[in-house]
Amino acid sequence: MPPRRRTLINIIAGTWAVLAAAGDIALNSLPLPPGSATDIAGSETQVIRILAMMAWPIFVAVVAGLVFTLYVDRVAPDAREFDAQTLRGNSRVQTMWIAGSTTIVLGVAIFGTITLANDTTVPTVAQAVPNTPLEVQVIAQQWYFTYRYPSFGGFESAHLVIPSDREIEFHVTSLDVTHSFWFFAAGVKADAVPEHDNSVDMQPLKTGTYRIECSELCGIWHGSMSDDNAQIVSAGDFNTWAQQQQQLDAPIMKFLPPYSHTYVPAPGAYGS
């Protein structure tokens, strides 16, 4: 190998190491979305961070390889000189590449499965008040979400309000077409499918006001099916609000259908 080439390889490898390390250090401290407002949002952020920290060095390595091979050995477009060295393949390199990428894939898949298992079982966060999860039903229809609280007599609310001290169990369903309940900051996304109960658990960690939107195309006003006023509040505030709401809704409770995990929509909801 000519010395110039060796020097170039060293320079490129050094650049790769610096860029990969710098990028990963930055990724490690960047506040990535969706944040840490709930336990599963936190674990999604963590997964995105780890995947990004794995992807970045691979990206830089392949780009460095491309730049090196394309740029360093280039000739002019009309050059007619010929390089006699002919490579047809190298089974050792190929085996290493395939084994390496398979290992990475297996690692990523196992890591994802473990995270998924942790997210969908009882959260490990120490709870101040150990109690049963609060069930909140999300009813989607064209083009808004309604929330029902079965443990408070099944009253309905146009805005989501949940306490920060309890695990929340969302039950998502739809009255007409397929929608998707996306509580971005909470890391919750669940399709709302008519006559299907889609359930997601999460533990809020931070109070605040957040955005909820529909993320499955559901018709003309899909883009407006959002609410910027979803709240995670303290336990006391939540109880005050829920009791107020329950009293307000008391006169109309008899017109609501009894609480159920799915509802049969009114005839004509599908247009035919």
Binding site: I40, F59, V177
Partner: protein
């Protein structure tokens, strides 16, 4: 004109009526389409079924279907069938030569012709038309998204715009490489004189213009609100424009299926003697594997479309829970087609860039066999991943780890393509021509597309990224950044062979850099807005994301301008100021297609070569085969 083959001369006898009709096929086709439309509209109005609340969709379905049949009849697709029923003599060699458009000049491009090269050119024009029609939709969408609230488009028209942009692009992309370049070059590369089923090949092309026009006509019927995924029961609820979507998508599915069948049969049965599967050019392998995907996946699309037609027209409630159906049925069947479909887009692009790499690196393809294995692996795995589109749908959570694993596993065979590309480039004396620039850009863009795919395959990360602009940017990186870049590079590479004219290299290089940079700045911004929580297909979005959206829109306009410039280059160099290719083989390729005269004779080969090698022997300079000879031409040739 170097027409080496003289199968026949058109007889001097008076032109038979059938040929006159055939000559005017396009006009008759339009008349047939109108008559078919009116007939269908009349039949549908007879009241076989109740109208649903959206109006009489049986009328519109029958009208569209019969207009497609009428168009094909007018074009002359049923002439032979009717002729043989009426006891006419079988076609003579002269008839066949006429059908191949031999000696017919430009007119052969405007009628039913069964020459695969004519069909390839017809595909070029159609693909460009729909690429730019879909691109116009993209420009309008990006213009609308300059502001976070609806500005010049109503929410209803916006959904139609999104739906049309997506279906047109899906339709264009499913034929973008396999249509023009596959039809033109696969028979040549395998030493065949035509496809296995030339009439079927013409049919797969001529199904598409009616499909495209029917799709575009949906704007007159109120559009369709579902995007390209057509999710039921939203589609059950939609107005009559939905029926245009269903008929058009059905025709597209039929075309993909028939084209797959034809290509598979051609590659298996029509290879020249001596051309083993181990010596097939890598592009032919790509087309061959893609054709299997099309043949196996498109029937599922056709069935699910038919089911939706039943749902809308006969109230079958297959997708409506109130009647015992389920929306998951549509989602499963649609994505069972939909995921192989995206590999139908990209595998021909893999084949194409690996076909071009050796030419510009002057090297054999590094690891030909693993490259074939990589494409095969992608093709097989593509049938086992579709439920990653349903990770948040609430169906079968227990299966999520499996689909996460199978999806991530696809990155192994895809990685092989990168290995082969890097291996071929390693220590090569790469010639930086315009097609080579596009090969490099393909690798860069597809790398980002692939790596962002890993985020989406990981279920917990997908909970946040699913159905956001991150997904949108991810697949634009693979399809626009991958397939369309490969197509632009591939056309630059092959147009000198197809037309004898060359695009201007200096203009091409400038166009490339603008296109490459603006493409990346568009979709990097969209990856970011997706991560920050912007949903796909919305007309209103969070005001705090406006800055990134404006950046994406401006980049998209530059990208659109660069594409228009490219179109202008093609029109300029090919039609206005024809720049004749200075050499027969300007890239000095060893592929058999470049050893033939330009333009390629009607039946390609005078004598089919029987001694074949891989067309990548740049160390010995031995071409894949020598047309017109039956003996090895070079003493130093070492068949592998």
């Amino acid at each position: 004109m170097v027409d080496a083959v003289a199968v026949s001369k058109t007889p001097a006898a008076p032109r038979p009526l059938s040929r006159t009709l055939h000559q005017w096929g396009l006009l008759l086709g339009v008349i047939g389409a109108v008559l078919g439309f009116l007939l269908g509209y009349f039949l549908g109005g007879l009241g076989f079924v109740d109208n649903n609340s959206n109006g009489s969709n049986i009328q519109i379905l029958l009208a569209y279907s019969l207009s497609a049949v009428g168009f094909l009849a007018g074009m002359g697709f049923f002439n032979r069938l009717i002729g043989s029923l009426l006891g006419q003599r079988p076609p003579t060699l002269a008839d066949e030569a006429y059908l191949h458009g031999e000696g017919a000049g430009l007119s052969r491009y405007f009628r039913l012709t069964v020459d695969h090269k004519v069909i390839g050119m017809q595909y070029v024009v159609m693909i460009l038309f729909f690429l730019f029609a879909g691109g116009l939709g993209a420009m309008l969408i990006r213009g609308e998204l300059l502001s976070p609230q609806p500005s010049y488009v109503t929410p209803e028209s916006y959904l139609t715009l999104v739906g049309l942009h997506s279906v047109i692009m899906i339709f264009m992309a499913s034929a973008a490489i396999i249509g023009p370049l596959g039809n033109y070059f696969v028979p040549i590369m395998i030493g065949a004189r035509n496809m296995a089923f030339p009439r079927l090949e013409a049919l797969t092309f001529w199904l598409l213009p009616p499909a495209g026009l029917i799709l575009l006509s949906s704007v007159f019927l109120g559009g369709f609100p579902t995007g390209w995924t057509g999710y039921a029961p939203l589609s059950d609820q939609a107005v009559l424009g939905m029926d245009a979507y269903l008929v058009a998508f059905g025709l597209i599915g039929l075309s993909i299926m028939l084209s797959g069948l034809n290509m598979i049969t051609t590659v298996i049965t029509m290879r020249a003697p001596g051309l083993r599967f181990t010596k097939l050019p890598i592009f032919v392998w790509g087309v061959f594997i893609t054709s299997w995907l099309g043949l196996l996946a498109a029937p599922v699309l056709a069935s699910v479309i038919l089911m939706e037609v039943f749902d809308r027209t006969f109230h079958a409630t297959l997708f409506v829970p109130a009647g015992g159906g389920t929306p998951y049925l549509w989602q499963n069947l649609f994505w069972f087609f939909g995921h192989p479909e995206v590999y139908i887009f990209i595998i021909p692009a893999f084949g194409l860039i690996m076909e071009m790499l050796p030419v510009f690196t002057r090297r054999p393809l590094w690891g030909y066999r693993v490259a074939v294995g990589g494409m095969l692996g992608v093709g097989v795995l593509s049938f086992f991943v579709w439920q990653h589109h349903l990770f948040v749908s609430g169906i079968a959570p227990a299966l999520r780890p499996f689909y996460m694993f199978s999806t991530e596993a696809i990155s192994v065979p895809t990685g092989i393509i990168f290995l082969v590309a890097l291996g071929t480039l390693w220590r090569a004396r790469t010639r930086f021509t315009v097609p080579m620039l596009f090969v490099g850009a393909f690798l860069f863009n597809f790398l980002i597309g692939g790596l962002t795919g890993v985020f989406l395959s990981d279920v917990p990360a997908d909970f946040s990224l699913h159905a956001s602009y991150f997904v949108q940017a991810h697949f634009h990186y693979t399809i626009m950044g991958g397939e369309v870049f490969a197509l632009v590079g591939g056309l630059t590479y092959y147009l000198p062979k197809m037309t004898g004219r060359q695009l201007n290299a200096r203009a091409g290089r400038r166009q490339f850099w603008v296109m490459f940079i603006s493409f990346n700045s568009t979709f990097l911004c969209l990856l970011a807005v997706g991560m920050l929580g912007m949903t796909r297909r919305v007309i209103s979005y969070q005001p705090e994301l406006q800055g990134l959206n404006i950046a994406a829109s401006i980049s998209a306009f530059v990208l659109g301008a660069s594409m228009l410039f490219w179109l202008g280059m093609i029109v300029w160099s090919l039609i206005l100021r024809p720049a004749l290719a200075t050499q027969k083989n300007p890239w000095e390729s060893l592929g058999i297609e470049w050893q033939l005269p330009t333009p390629v004779p009607t039946y390609n080969f005078d004598t089919v070569p029987v001694t074949w090698a891989l067309p990548y022997e740049y160390d010995t300079g031995q071409p894949a085969a020598i047309p017109g000879r039956t003996q090895p031409a070079l003493a130093g040739g070492t068949p592998t």
